[in-house]
Symmetry: none
Subunit: 200 residues, 4 copies
DNA sequence: TATGAATGAGGGTTCATTCAT
DNA sequence: AATGAATGAACCCTCATTCAT
């Protein structure tokens, strides 16, 4: 079935790109991983770039859909941020390669960023910033920081958490662990790492 | 003089790798940037890998030296973390390409990480974690988080801040801005982003 | 109907080969032009080479039939040559792609000439030469040139005329224009381009 | 020496392209013919296209220079046309591959004609037409034909002559043969192939 | 007949690296 | 120390052809 092969290529690409990175991932590796001849890859994807874009889009589409849904909710800001964190963790659980590629090839590697891809990244930043700003307007988050700065700190904490799991090939075990991780990130982001004693 | 040419190659490599990334940076580009013939690069560096390692080492050596110095001090943990932040910001100010390469090619891109390079990264994490742990032992940081988690959050916030500057090619203007940035990161990390009102 | 599809492929091939040349014409282009799937082409033609041969044969068959007819006539040589010229012009009018392909892919491009194809070309030359020679024997054409040389000159003039039309995508409008072109070629070939004044 | 290798590649390309045509000529064939590794070809020529252009330019440059020289002369038109014929024959004698490529890959094969290359071809036609027109103004050539038509006939005769030699791999032996060939072409072009008896 | 998925030989091009000078 | 000519492994991509359905 057509969709089967396409999916196999997609999976193969995820695996190979995770291992070797986009630059070193050979189309022939991907084909071999997918169990097909390399010529067939070009039936389903225009070229390597196109295949890469498909992968990236899967990530972004999911994320933007989620943010869209979140934006329309009336939850307190922490629940919205928690939703964001869960998207990363859920996807990591179901599809760790995808998150890996997002982290290593998109999130930081500016050299893979065509203008188009950079745009989506900035849009993601802007949408997150909007959530943060909303929290500030509702006096749930401190106003003495630029919303952009808070966004950096929040997303940075989140990303590095995931990065570390990616780097060390950690597995997430059960929903409990996801809750604990999300809780930690949020708790520190919201209430700080300082002890009460040393405050004030 | 020998050191001159070597330095020129080094600078050229920084510039080119920043622009194109390690994989797409050609030895001939680097040589041209350094104003020499490409054959000569091989007198000063064994090969491309070796040149890349030299660059990375400059970053790590500075950072490890700093952490070594910090570790021997008796400052409160926040001042130590501030020292770390300043290393990133200072280096970014003096040598933005170097930080850029650290962020894009090392910090996240696991594909460039040979085992050796990965080790240094983990060591850096461990050393930072030691600082955090020390803060926890001294009851300056909360004990209800794993030190590793706090480390992720702290370094993530820091890295993303710098990443954003890197991505947007921002300039740091004066020590005032550095203070402000460091202050923001630390303040949120230590005291949280939540308003006092909304705290229980 | 079988013949319909075959004809459609044939037409498609003519169009595509005209545009891209034989080497760059893709079987898939031809199929698309013919409105069928590319696999089906192989039901009607053994392979690309075979399809190309069919096209060439259509040209040659028509031409050889004509020459056969002409040879059996008792016309003066100029009328016979005029018949030849009209074959080119008529075919160009009805099927410009076919003439185009003859000119660009057969007449000159020795690289497309398999031994078999070269043979037909030489045969055509020889048959034309026979007409010329007959004219010389009948003292209608000068005997102080080798018949082969006259053949070159005649066919060269004819071909280049058609080539120019092909290159510039000119249309032939009406029989009048054909008469004029044929007249020019013949008149120069027979009586020369020199003015009477400067003769003698 | 640098020029040596470049020349060797050039020669190799001529030979291989003559044999296989531009499309089927492999860079590796050319390199092998030149006795070097294929990578080296790319030191001297940007790519296959560039190499091909160099070859074509050698032909055109020589031809345009010649036409420039001829245009400034006050010779009768037949001597000017003779000069043109000799350029083809001389070049064919010294460098038959070059003429072959001109004939097979440029003169007719419209598919190899990028816009740029087509321009040079049209310019050549126009310059020749100017010579013919001048002859008409001086009443040396008949005025009852469009100059463009005469140009087609003249160049067609010339090209086909050379083509035939190219196709049959004929050698030109001595200046005598060149004179005879040029004489034949000119004589027919100027005075016609018809016998005096059958005239008037 | 008809489709288009599947194959894989083939060829252009890049670029790290070596080495004669 | 310095140059850049020379090498060739590597890799992307095209497309004629086959074949299961």
């Amino acid at each position: 079935m057509k969709k089967d092969k396409e999916a196999a290529i997609f999976e193969g690409a995820l695996k190979v790109i995770k291992q070797k990175g986009f630059h070193k991932a050979r189309m022939s590796d991907i084909a071999k991983e997918a169990g097909i001849s390399y010529g067939l890859v070009y039936h389903y994807f225009k070229n390597k770039e196109d295949l890469f874009d498909s992968i990236i889009n899967q990530w972004w589409n999911g994320l933007f859909q989620l943010i869209g849904r979140i934006s329309r909710e009336t939850w307190p800001v922490w629940d919205k941020l928690k939703g964001l964190i869960f998207y990363f963790l859920d996807t990591y659980q179901k599809n760790p390669e995808l998150v890996n590629i997002f982290i290593t090839e998109i999130s930081r590697s500016s050299t893979n960023l065509t203008t188009n891809r950079l745009e989506r990244f900035k849009e993601f930043m802007a949408l997150t910033e909007a959530l943060i700003e909303e929290g500030q307007r509702q006096a749930m988050l401190r106003n003495d920081f630029r919303p952009r700065y808070l966004t950096y700190i929040f997303l940075g904490a989140l990303e590095t958490f995931v990065s570390a799991m990616v780097l060390e090939d950690q597995k997430i075990r059960g929903d409990g662990q996801k809750e604990r991780i999300a809780g930690s990130i949020l708790e520190v982001f919201l209430n700080g790492a300082k002890t009460q004693d040393s405050k004030g």
